[in-house]
Amino acid sequence: MQKYSIFSLARNALSGHRNWPLAWRSPALKDRYEVIVIGAGGHGLATAYYLAKEFGISDVAVLERGWLGGGNIARNTVTIRSNYMRDESIPFYVKSVAMYEGLTQELNFNMMHSKRTMVDIVQTWPKLRELRRRQLVMDIYGSTYEQITTDEVRRRIPALTGGGPDARLPIICGMVHTDAGVNRHDAVAWGYARAADALGVEIHQQTAVQSLIRGVDGAIAGVETNRGTVRAAKVVVAVSGHTTTLTDTVGLKLPLRTMNLTAFVSEPVQPLVDVIVNCPDSGFYFSQSDKGEMVIGGAPDMGQSFRRDIKQHVFEDTVTAMLSLFPSFKKLKLMRQWGGHLDIAHDASPIMDQTDVPGLFITAGWWGGYKAIPAGGLTLAHLVAKGAPHPLMSSFTLDRFRHLDFILEAGTTTAR
């Protein structure tokens, strides 16, 4: 793998940048692999990378219907954080945040990781009680959350001029999550792809899996694609939103449904907001990208959908809530908006497990799993390689549904 650095950049500049190698190969598709990963999104690529890196399994094909990095990783708001409420969730996300912080060096690809903290704007007492509860549990796992006064909130976010004493929802205080950060989503996909490729993983774009194949023993045997049959004894489904589309082909029933989540960005402006702003009581969050755009997200649309749709009324509510707290944004302009679809489990927590079809693994139900990519990839690779769940994800298996033992984090934040 070509080492990226200021020196390699300078050297290549002298040769007119004509000698940069391919970031990844386009190898011929074989008819058999040890492991097939369906979906070259964040989780799929990370899983393939860690299979090769940590478990020595490099006979891996990542099959992607479109272009690598083109799934939800291409259209999310890059918020990385670990402020969860449950013992099952916090350590997993703490690990993921830590892995993200080292990812630029690990993959030799600049993720532009900006650990800039998240400030929750608290506007109701029940929300404050809930966040304080999270604060104290998070501390057990080394994740930070501190309460700050409204004055301090306004000092850190000068553009926050709404929410005064006479407002509909006056600001009560803030909660600061210093572990939170943002980075560059394309870089995460490309960095994992390039590093996985260097370890021997094959990435096949424009390779659409049409159905899964079971062997006579009932176990997974491979996949049917638009480029022919590819066999493997282990198949990982990492196709947020379309999980059931694939698992339906082997008659598997999963507690998942697919819905839309949208985001939008403003025009680029000079640096104004240095932190991630999350307003759970008002229902929106945003951060300012390094390019200057405000990257804004709101509540999901709970209806089932594969349309990657933007619901005008949901969008308008998000904008209006934002203008209540940030009235100067009335003059800021919307530049681009988009929707994605993702799947959500019955209890709204993720599922990573081997299914009832032996050899068939899924990672699903993340409904915004960007922050989980490194730990999700690592722990799923562990499960695939060793056949037993990694301790950090053992609660996220399908087994919990057999006893209706849900992991309920829902409603804890809008910034999912």
Binding site: H242, T244, T245, K253, L254, P255, L256, R257, T258, M302, G303, Q304, S305, F306, R307, D309, K311, Q312, H313, D343, H346, F401, R402, L404
Partner: protein
């Protein structure tokens, strides 16, 4: 924002409705179903790439529950497909 046909009020903006989820299997007899059957009934809903039967509550209208078929790929309100639901 979709236009949802309410049998009482006509086509109305989606913002008047609250999504009520897809229509799943009939509720099994809880005293006869196996654990697995019961869990499946509770947690597994149809999630098709295509027409799905679903319910909407006309909360900011007549207050009635409405059942429609809708294509999850296009959001077109469609006729009920033939065959069992």
């Amino acid at each position: 924002m979709m236009l949802i046909p309410c049998p009482f009020c006509g086509k109305r903006n989606e913002s008047e409705f609250i999504f009520g989820g897809p229509v799943g299997a009939d509720r099994p007899d809880p005293n006869a179903a196996s654990d697995a059957e019961w869990v499946e009934y509770l947690t597994v809903v149809p999630n098709p790439l295509g027409p799905v039967q679903e319910r909407w509550w006309h909360a900011r209208g007549c207050g009635e529950w409405v059942t429609i078929w809708r294509d999850t790929r296009t959001h077109d309100i469609v006729r009920a497909p033939d065959g069992p639901k």
